[in-house]
Every structure is written in structure tokens, then in C-alpha cells.
Amino acid sequence: MKPEELIQQIENKLLTIDTTPSVANVGLVQNVGDGIVQASGLSLSGYNEEVEFENGIRGLVLNLNEDSTSIALLSNTTAIKEGDTVKTTGKILGLQVSEKLLGRVVDAVGSPLDGKALKAEGTFYPLEKIAAGVTERQSVDTPLKTGIKAIDAIVPIGRGQRELIIGDRNTGKTAVAIDTIINQKKKDLNLRQVVCIYCAIGQKRSNIARTIGVLQDNQALDYTVVVAASSSDPAAMQYLAPYTATSIAEYFMDKGQDVLVVYDDLSKHAWAYRQLSLLLRRPAGREAYPGDIFYVHSRLLERSVRMADENGGGSITALPIIETQAGDVSAYIPTNVISITDGQIYLETSLFNSGTRPAINVGLSVSRVGGSAQTKEMKQVAGPLRLELAQFREMAAFAQFGSDLDEKTQQQIERGKRVIEILKQPQYQPFNEAFEVLSIYAASSGLLDEVPVEKISEFETQMLELVNVKNKKLVEKMSSGDKMDEKTLEELKKVITQAKKNFM
């Protein structure tokens, strides 16, 4: 077919107007309040169906009663009054997804929030989708590098894993997630580029704007989609936002790509769903949450998978965030999400205040499947690191006795301090694999025992600079992820000793 003919055909198709009579199932608004509409009629409406009011406002059917239907409004509006008509659309809620969403900020129904026009014109993805079956998946075996030493060494995350970030307010939960997104800029270990989705739920608009600013400044927005439902958006939008983020992620996963989704945060998502449920007069359970609050989160996080190669081999890695109140991890929502996920990164206020940043409590943080996704060289250095940290935790209580302790114990405490110090890392400065391994090896092998604790960070910077300039071959060798042989280890020791000499 000639291009002219094709153009003509497309134009004709676009200009054809449907002249068949319209059939609509309608209802009348009985009452409106707190973003919930009760409507009579709508006998053909389905659960989770999208409905439309006469002035174009959209709603979502959430309850089907004997005489009425409960609809959650998808926008903040005062334009609906008793007696207005509402009609079914026959559509379930979903959005058009395409590559055009990359670098954009959208709301829970896919409308742009960044002031620019958006015509996604892609594939329709429903917000709710049943997670991939057991046979369609494969186990997690590829690392998703966060660029944070403590996480990559002790609680490694694999592609397709769900790792919870949990902690009180102001402990750096979002910072960990943002660092991970920024780290996806470099294709470390020759792995595939990761598409990132940042889903902000119930946050202040100023916070969301700041996060977007950080992503922009670090050139991370080019491969990121931001889905935002701020605290001033309707509860229904806050409830839907993570499902939207997952639908967008599924589009990229179906294309065989690896995706990282950050849900910031699911505590506020649970609050939004609790609000909706109470207004819908559903029975309240523990802490007034509805009975299906566990299912709401489990069906969301179950959609994070690593697909088998015959199904495209894509993956969705989920980093849900939960905010605890006064460090109480045994509250309802934290325990629910802990049991759903494949591990958790526990951030502590006391560590944060004492200057350990990221404030990860390495004792309480776990990764249930990430170990198999760790590279051989990382495993090689992470083993001794874990041992050193465990011994340090045992001995830390005796540290105050100082010189009364025997030499071996003192040495263990001193080394532990250095290990803790080396795991500290400034924000927005993710490390690559080679530098992570180098730093961890330097601390856990005892080569830094002579360097004063307060100067560890300074020494680390100098050492990495030296290696980067003078030992490029070594860095390249270590960037492969293969197990380090004796020769490489010797070389490493030599480099660290040289850096130490220069520093001292």
C-alpha cells in the first residue's frame, strides 16, 4: 500500500462518526459526601467499573447494594448534586501506557501533572490485574544494585524481589529509594538498564516536588515515571496510585525490561483505603482497617515478579516503604507488609541521629532471596563483613570498659567501629560494584585498623580516587562480578596499603 493511500485510510477512519443509537445504563445521585456518591439505578454496573457523571466527572464503583451503588469520586469536586445522572461506561479503570510516559509525572489515572500535554497512545493496561502464575516465573538470580554499600553487601536485592524499607519518620527511607533510582543511571556489571517508577502516595506536594527535583538534577528522570497522588488528592486516587504504578511497570516488563517500583508509602495507602472503607460503611477491623487490607497489599506486591525467559524475561522489583510510629514494627500494617515482602531494610532513628547514614540496622534487616542474586565477588567480601559486624554487636556492650578488655576483644571492637564507619555513605552518591567491594574489603580484612575511626571516610575518598586514577585495570576486573582470585586480592591489598601510606 502506498503511503498516500494509508494516510487517506487513517484519515477516513479517524473522521468516521458512530451513528448507532446510544444505549446507556443510568442512575440518579441520591447523596454525596466525602468523595462518596450513593446512586440509585445503575442496575448493570459492575464492581470496579468506571462511571461518568453528566459533567464528565469520573467515578469508580466500589459497592453494589440492593437498591443503590456506592461510587468513589476520582476528582475533588463540588459540582455533583442530588438528582444528577450518572451512567455506566462498561470500562474497568485503566490507562494507556507507552514509552512516552518516561520522564513524566502523572496522576493515578494517567493524566499529566507536569503541565505538559501527554498523549500516551500506547497499550491499554487495566489497573487491577491478576499476578503472573507460578509457571510463568523464574527465581530471582540477577542483582539490582542500589549503590548503597550496606544494602548491596548485607541485604542484597535481586531483580523481581520485593524488599520493604521500614522505619520511623525522618530516618531516610525515601533517600534509600531515591539513591537506588539514581544508581540505575550507570549500567553496573553490564546489566540491563532498569526503568524506574516512583509512586508517591499521600505525601505533601512540596515533598513530591523536591523528590522530582532531585531526580531531575541527577539525570534520573529520563528513565523514570513518577505517579503522584498527594495528600490533597481524593482518597480514591491515593488508593489507586500504586496500582497505576504497577500497571505502568507491567508494560515495560512485558517488553522484557527490568523495572523498579518504589511505593512511597504504603502506610498512607492503607490510611486512604481505610478512609474509603469507613465511608463506604464496610465493617472495620483491627485499628479500624477493613478486613481486606492484607489482600489490598498482597495482590499489589504479588504483581512484582521475575518472568521466565520464554515469557519475555522481564522483571518488576518492588521497594515498598512503610512508616512506623515510634519504632513499632509490630503494628498491623507493618507486620502485614513484612510478611508479604521478601525481606526488609530496617532504618532506625537512634542510628540516624548518631550519624550512621543510611541508618540501616544491619541486625534486623534481612533479604530472603537476594543472596542468590549477589555477585561472587560481593559474596566473597560480604561474608567476613557480616561476621565482623555480628562479633562487634556482641562485644559492643563491653566497649565502655575500654582498657580493661583483653587485646583480642579490643581489636574486634576497633575493627567493628571501622566497618560501621565504612558503611556510612552520603546521600545521592551511589557506589559502583568495584568501589563497594574495595571499601568493604579494606575494612573487613583489617587493613584499616591503623586508620583513625574519624578519618575513615576521608581515607575512603582518597583511596577510591587513587584506584580510579592509577588502577583502572583493577577496577575493570572487579566490575565483572567474578570471584576474585589470589592475585587480585594481593593487588587489592597492595593498593589499599599504598593509599594508607599516602594518607598517613
Binding site: 458512530d18 444505549v23 446507556a24 442512575g27 440509585s40 439505578g41 442496575s43
Partner: protein, 116 residues
């Protein structure tokens, strides 16, 4: 009064099986809140028994006959609506079948805005 009783009362009132005196006596005893609910159920019952057909001019006999044969056991209520421009609009309970020019224009505008 319970919702089920009010809905049953509305059904009885519409089916005309209740004597006028009894109906009036019951209505006197109902509170304002119950009366409001009764009104809602009465309207609902009526809507189920009637089909509303809107058109610009009065419906001719043949159209009425055709409609009656489609909606058997239902009363056809004709409504005059000049806003439709031409054509008819049928409302059967909560279903609306729109054959009017007004709806076509509305959908044409929607289709064009979507294309452009």
C-alpha cells in the same frame, strides 16, 4: 419503620391493592423521614411500570403501537422535549435508548475532540 416495610408498602400502593382509607391512615402515621423514603420507593415502583418516551412532537399511533409491542405490560408515557431536535429517547427503568439528534451531535463533538 424498617426499609423493607416501606418498600413493601410502596409496592402495594402502586399495585392499587390497598383501600384508599387504609392507605391514608398509614400515611398519616408515617414520620417525615419515612414519607421521604416512601416517596423514593413509590417513584422507583412507578419507573419500573412505565416507559418514558421523549420526542419533539406528539408520538403517532403507529410508533406507539410498535413501542407497546416492545415494552409489553408497561405503560408508555409520552413526554414532549424540543431540546432533542429530532428523533426519540426512550427511558425504561435505568436504561436509556437514545435515537435523538441531540445525542448524535453530542457524540460527534466528543469523537472529533478525541481525534484532534
Amino acid at each position: 419503620m424498617k426499609d423493607t416495610y416501606i418498600s413493601a408498602l410502596a409496592k402495594q400502593l402502586v399495585e392499587k391493592t390497598v383501600e384508599k382509607k387504609i392507605a391514608e391512615a398509614v400515611l398519616e402515621r408515617l414520620s417525615k423521614k419515612d414519607l421521604k423514603r416512601l416517596l423514593f420507593y413509590l417513584k422507583k415502583e412507578l419507573v419500573q411500570k412505565q416507559v418514558y418516551v421523549s420526542s419533539v412532537d406528539k408520538l403517532d399511533l403507529e410508533t406507539l403501537k410498535t413501542l407497546q409491542s416492545i415494552f409489553k405490560e408497561k405503560e408508555i408515557v409520552s413526554i414532549s422535549d424540543p431540546d432533542l431536535f429530532a428523533g426519540i429517547r426512550i427511558q425504561d427503568n435505568d436504561m436509556i435508548y437514545d435515537f435523538s439528534i441531540k445525542d448524535k451531535i453530542k457524540r460527534t463533538i466528543h469523537s472529533l475532540t478525541q481525534t484532534v
